[in-house]
Symmetry: none
Subunit: 121 residues, 2 copies
């Protein structure tokens, strides 16, 4: 069931490891690759499931996909230029664990993003 199409992955890499589904699709088109938009979406979703890429949101709501290392980390995103910095989340891990225990939750995960204006913007 692995729909993690390698051509899509390699295109995402070539795009700087950071692009929307539409961008990946247009890039592949421009490069003469024959692929359908549907397949690009499916491949990206699959890559997200396999935790090979992360998905974030642009300010306009468009999903952007981003290659990421295996280590669990968080993002500091510039809301103007989209620049992203991967940051350490030790404090969050602990917070999530404590909060979950306190309320009797198990098998917990979490998301946390910080957004603002970067130095250049």
């Amino acid at each position: 069931m692995s729909r993690s199409n390698p051509r899509v992955l390699s295109t995402l890499e070539r795009a700087g490891g950071f692009a929307s589904a539409q961008e990946v699709y247009r890039l592949m088109q421009r490069e003469g690759e024959s692929i359908g938009l549907t397949t690009v979406y499916r491949a990206l979703q699959s890559l997200v499931n396999d935790k090979i890429v992360d998905v974030l949101r642009r300010e306009d709501g468009e999903a952007i996909y981003r290659l990421c290392g295996e280590a669990h980390h968080h993002h500091l995103v510039c809301k103007s230029c989209g620049d992203t910095v991967e940051i350490e989340g030790g404090a969050i891990e602990k917070w999530a664990k404590v909060m979950a225990e306190e309320h009797g939750f198990r098998e917990v995960g979490h998301t946390a993003e910080i957004f603002g204006l970067c130095g250049k913007c």
Copy 2:
């Protein structure tokens, strides 16, 4: 030019200070208010411009509007039954601030959610 319709604002307040445009609209409909969806969108945008409300994104990309003054809190969500607990995020606030400073970001906000299985599930 102030399109910050007070009925929209008061509905957003009644919704717990946290809702999407569509939800605000549906809520107003249900309460018998006569208003157009377009106006709801315009009013919310206007409130954002006036910095009376914040805008965030749900995981599916839908924009959600939040009253600025509201005590900022986070959520612990059960991924099985959807039960939600509002939790304190003091640790997160500090983490976000430190991380932002460290990387030269300003005007920062953040999102953080914890999800897992609640005691009943």
